[in-house]
């Protein structure tokens, strides 16, 4: 399959007021960040939906007001998304959809994309807002409390092969939280490991900060030589392209049995992982895995640097599971 993700459409503006577009449904995940609330206020949409993640721990009185508020107690991403889509009576047929990825939990964001894709929504817009900086620089804590499990993300679970002969690859999108990197690396201890860093980063110092944090997980990443990959932290399309290229290279070397992807960096990077998976990995020996915690910090950034609008386009949707004969090792996906 010849794919060039970099030709997908993206647009950058400097303030929420400049966001170009009008939608039928705008979906965002509420938190206290200006990046999230200012964009929500500014976008032009017939309906605007606030999703409330339980991981942020908002009390009822802290929630925004409006007609389309969707609080949930579900921590599992599939339960969360199914509850929302049922409660919202979301009819996406022919609808113009926009998702602001900025405040989302990563697994829930990926699960929503998968759901939209499964429902036949082959084109939709996704926003992501760059912060000016992280609140505590390289010491910024995103997860609050311990990682309770590492597992596959619903909708991104592959069909793996039992005897990999040591030919598994774990590709981690490195973010600031070294504890997350460590947990994921330990979960797939026997896999070869590669880190993908955001470079250029959202701002000049962020690359150094993320490398500094990631180095704390060096032991879990193993003693063997590792590839280090780079893709712009705010470009899901280049991210998908870089993943595509490295997987093709590994496949060409006959060194790939099971592929594990773990997006722990920016939401834009997460979108790139999801795009790559949904386009190329469904039904293969590939999964997205994630270290789940029960609580996340509500506000980790300062300011708005840029707002990105990405237009996602998928090949026409296929029914659930119909592509499950594809095989990663044979390259027939």
């Amino acid at each position: 399959m010849v794919i060039d993700y970099t030709i997908f459409y993206k647009e950058k503006v400097r303030s929420p007021a400049e966001i170009n577009g009008r939608w039928d449904v705008f979906i965002s995940a509420f938190n206290e960040s200006e990046r999230v609330t200012a964009v929500f206020e500014a976008v032009q949409s017939t309906e605007k939906h606030w999703l409330i993640h339980p991981e942020y721990g908002f009390a009822a009185y802290e929630l925004p007001s409006g007609d389309h508020i969707f609080p949930s107690q579900h921590l599992h991403e599939a339960d969360f998304i199914l509850e929302y889509t049922a409660a919202a009576g979301l009819n996406i047929s022919g609808a113009r959809i926009c998702v602001d990825s900025t405040g989302f939990m990563r697994p829930q964001l990926m699960c929503l994309l998968k759901w939209l894709h499964e429902q036949g929504c082959d084109q939709f817009d996704v926003l992501y807002t760059d912060p000016v900086r992280y609140a505590e620089a390289e010491r910024t804590q995103f997860t609050k409390g311990p990682v309770v499990e590492v597992r596959q993300v619903a909708g991104y679970e592959g069909q793996h092969v039992p005897d990999s002969g040591g030919n598994d690859l774990l590709l981690i999108g490195a973010g600031y939280d070294h504890e997350l990197i460590r947990r994921v690396a330990e979960d797939k201890a026997s896999a070869r490991k590669t880190e993908l860093f955001g470079l250029p980063s959202l701002s000049p110092e962020m690359y150094q900060e993320s490398v500094l944090r990631a180095s704390n997980a060096a032991e879990a990443m193993g003693g063997n030589e590792q590839d280090i990959l780079f893709a712009p932290a705010n470009d899901p399309f280049v991210t998908a392209q870089v993943i595509h290229e490295v997987v093709e290279r590994e496949r060409g070397r006959q060194r790939l049995a099971n592929l594990y992807l773990s997006p722990l960096g920016t939401k834009a990077q997460t979108l790139g992982f999801a795009l790559y998976y949904l386009t190329e990995c469904r039904g293969s020996a590939a999964s997205v895995i994630f270290p789940f915690a029960r609580h996340y910090t509500r506000e980790t950034t300062k300011g708005i640097a840029h707002i990105w609008k990405y237009t996602f386009e998928f090949p026409a949707s296929t029914p659930v599971g119909s592509d499950h004969r594809a095989n990663l090792t044979s390259g027939s996906s």
């Binding site: 311990p146 039992p162 659930v320 599971g321 499950h324």
Partner: protein, 668 residues
């Protein structure tokens, strides 16, 4: 730019090794070897457990067929006959077991689906192994269609393609597995779990080896050994299935199940909730505990391990045996002579007006109204300028006398007199001899601390002891030490030994790594971390007090029967994650005669708090103290515990109950 020399200890985990490296870096236990601990031909199932890095995966992979094949080039079947087993290795993490849960389905449904999935997975591995091992055997080739037919008879084959070769049979089973994958994966969003269970639970796992053995005589006397590793990645419900397989084991199969200590969640089976019992249904081996209990054997094993790594990285250096012989010389060690003069020479060389511990003592004496002249006289009597360690011993004995309310001027004179005898090696100086024998390392540690020097963790035996029976810890210490030595411009394992700076930096980095690496996963992680910090803080305060009562203190005992349940749970977690090490036999309580559990702080953590590596003394903690240390919400109580304990160890030695007792030796 020149390349840095290769670090022989760069890889610390067996999971990072190829099969070839598993063979090349294999080191057996001295004596009868690992096979006596974990005999792969034994029909009795075994659970191999231990802390992270106990060598479990290396051992299990060594037993696996791909490594057997490398160990025995040539006629593999004859070699399997010699070995008496063929190892089928399965990593539980590959099952991605987390998805067999929730998604709108009941746990009973998931139990059934997971068991079937596990059977298919294990069966594919078995068939791959057998197919490869027997590939060139004419008898097997003749029997192959019949074997396949018998295996297909175990499962409901409706709608399935025929298979007459092992390869095609694996294809059929893999397709069944993929069908489950699709259904299990899609149920998250469509809530329909459509799995057709085609075989009775466990049938594939036990029947297939029986079919092979019955139809192919070459397998007579060869046990099919399922090596199920990383059990900690399965939930309690999923582990029940493994326990069920252990309970229902049928010849010619057996199991070796590898699990980290904290990951053993249950011994219950799916057979009416019955529980497997050690000695009855399975044997249990804790590798690290076994190493700790056989200190000399572990030390020799560790030395061989290090030598093997060095030889692998630097082949011209000689054989592993030759390297093992000269291993100590590769690491600069401490002066371990009785008075440690070389180690304390920095004090003798210092041109200071007064040594810091004497300045402190004078202040303490002044606080209880001794005159300057009296304090100076005491200090003069205790001084031995050329032998700082002996001088420090005198000060320690003086504090002992002070705490016993003795007349201090008289006490100092007596100590000076005894010290003179001691230095002449007069056997009458028993007090000095005994105190030095017990507290030498602690007094030296105090000297270093008083002088603002780093604690010294030096020499190969210290590094081995620090690893506490976990070979990965040892490799980690050496990895960091090597890195620092290279960074400092040294060429380790060449001419000169690795200098102390590199060793100290390596030890400290390894200690920090361990504290991070052993962090408990889950909701109680922070509580365990805080508790360990409190315990270590208590030990440190006691070690560096004026009058420590226990030497080399990193151990406590306590009656846990009546402490808070939360505190007990934290201690259990800390032990399961190797932060605490349980001491076999416990400690007999001096008052009640009862045997209390006893725990040692893992020596890997000790440098982080300037504590000793080797344990000798132990303190008995009261119920209140255990609660204050291990019950996380007791911040205030912990401060009180420290204050009370320390009050008895620091001049002027006020007891906790009577802070204003009469002061000794005052008013001379």
């Amino acid at each position: 730019m020149t390349q840095p020399p290769p670090n022989p200890f760069n890889i610390t985990k067996a999971t990072d090794f190829s099969d070839e490296q598993i063979v090349r870096t294999w080191v057996d236990l001295p004596g009868d070897g690992f096979f006596t601990i974990a005999d792969p031909t034994s029909p009795m199932p075994m659970i191999l457990s231990g802390g992270k890095g106990s060598g479990r995966t290396h051992l299990m992979r060594y037993f696996s067929y791909p490594v057997q094949k490398l160990r025995h080039p040539g006629d593999i079947l004859a070699s399997l006959k010699t070995d008496g087993y063929v190892g089928v290795y399965l990593r539980c993490t590959g099952l991605n077991a987390g998805r067999f849960h929730g998604k709108g389905q009941s746990s009973e449904v998931w139990d059934v689906v997971f068991a079937y999935y596990m059977d298919l997975w294990l069966t594919q591995l078995t068939l791959q192994t057998m197919g490869e091992a027997l590939a060139g055997q004419p008898e097997f080739l003749a029997q192959q269609p019949g074997i396949c037919m018998e295996i297909l008879n175990i499962i409901d084959t409706s709608g399935l393609p025929q298979a007459s070769t092992i390869e095609s049979l694996i294809g059929v089973l893999h397709q069944l597995q993929r069908d489950i994958d699709v259904s299990v994966n899609n149920v998250a969003l469509d809530r329909r779990l459509d799995v057709n269970i085609r075989a009775t639970r466990g049938e594939l796992v036990f029947r297939i080896p029986q079919i092979f053995t019955r139809r192919f005589s070459g397998l007579d006397g060869i046990q099919i050994l399922y090596l199920v590793d990383e059990l900690e990645n399965l939930t309690e419900a999923q582990q029940r299935y493994i326990q069920t397989l252990i309970r229902e084991r049928e010849a010619p199969t057996s199991f070796k199940v590898g699990a980290r200590r904290y990951g053993l969640r249950t011994y219950k089976t799916l057979s009416a909730d019955e529980e497997n019992r050690e000695g009855s249904e399975f044997q249990m081996v804790f590798l690290d505990r076994d190493h700790i209990e056989n200190h000399a054997r572990y030390t020799n094993f560790a030395r061989s391990l290090i030598a093997r790594r060095i030889v692998e990285a630097y082949p011209p250096i000689g054989s592993a045996d030759q390297v093992a012989e000269k291993l100590d010389g590769f690491f600069e060690d401490m002066d371990r002579t009785p008075y440690m003069q070389a180690e304390t020479s920095f004090l003798a060389a210092q041109q200071v007006e007064e040594r810091p511990y004497f300045t402190k003592l004078k202040k303490q004496l002044s606080a209880i109204h001794f005159t300057n002249r009296e304090a100076s006289e005491i200090v003069n009597r205790l001084s031995v300028p050329d032998l700082p360690l002996v001088e420090k011993l005198n000060v320690f004995l003086f504090y002992q006398d002070w705490s016993r309310r003795q007349h201090l001027l008289t006490a100092s004179a007596s100590i000076a007199q005894q010290c003179a005898h001691y230095l002449k090696r007069d056997p009458a100086a028993t007090r000095h001899v005994q105190a030095m024998a017990h507290f030498r390392t602690d007094l030296f540690a105090q000297l270093l601390r008083d002088s603002g020097q780093k604690q010294r963790y030096l020499g190969l035996s210290t590094l081995i002891d620090m690893s506490a029976g976990l070979p990965r810890n040892l490799l980690q210490i050496l990895k960091y030490t090597f890195k620092w030595a290279s960074f400092n411009g040294q060429e380790p394992f060449s001419v000169e030994p690795i200098k102390r700076d590199a060793q100290q930096s390596g030890v400290m980095e390894a200690s920090h790594w361990f504290f991070e690496d052993a962090r408990v996963v889950g909701d109680h992680g922070r509580e365990v971390e805080q508790s360990i910090e409190r315990l270590a803080t208590l030990f440190r305060q006691l070690r560096y007090s004026d009058k420590p009562v226990e030497c080399s203190l990193i151990t406590f005992s306590a009656d846990l029967s009546f402490v808070r349940q939360e505190a007990r749970a934290v201690i259990k977690l800390a032990e399961e994650w190797s932060l605490l090490i349980s001491i076999p036999g416990g400690q007999r309580d001096r008052n009640t005669g009862a045997v209390d559990p006893k725990f040692e702080l893992n020596p890997m953590l000790c440098p982080r708090w300037d504590l000793p590596i080797s344990r000798r003394g132990a303190i008995s903690l009261s119920k209140a103290e255990v609660n204050a240390i291990f019950y996380p919400l007791r911040e205030v109580e912990f401060d009180t515990v420290i204050r009370d304990r320390l009050g008895r160890m620091m001049a002027p030695f006020r007891s906790s109950s009577s802070a204003s007792e009469a002061l000794p030796g005052f008013g001379d």
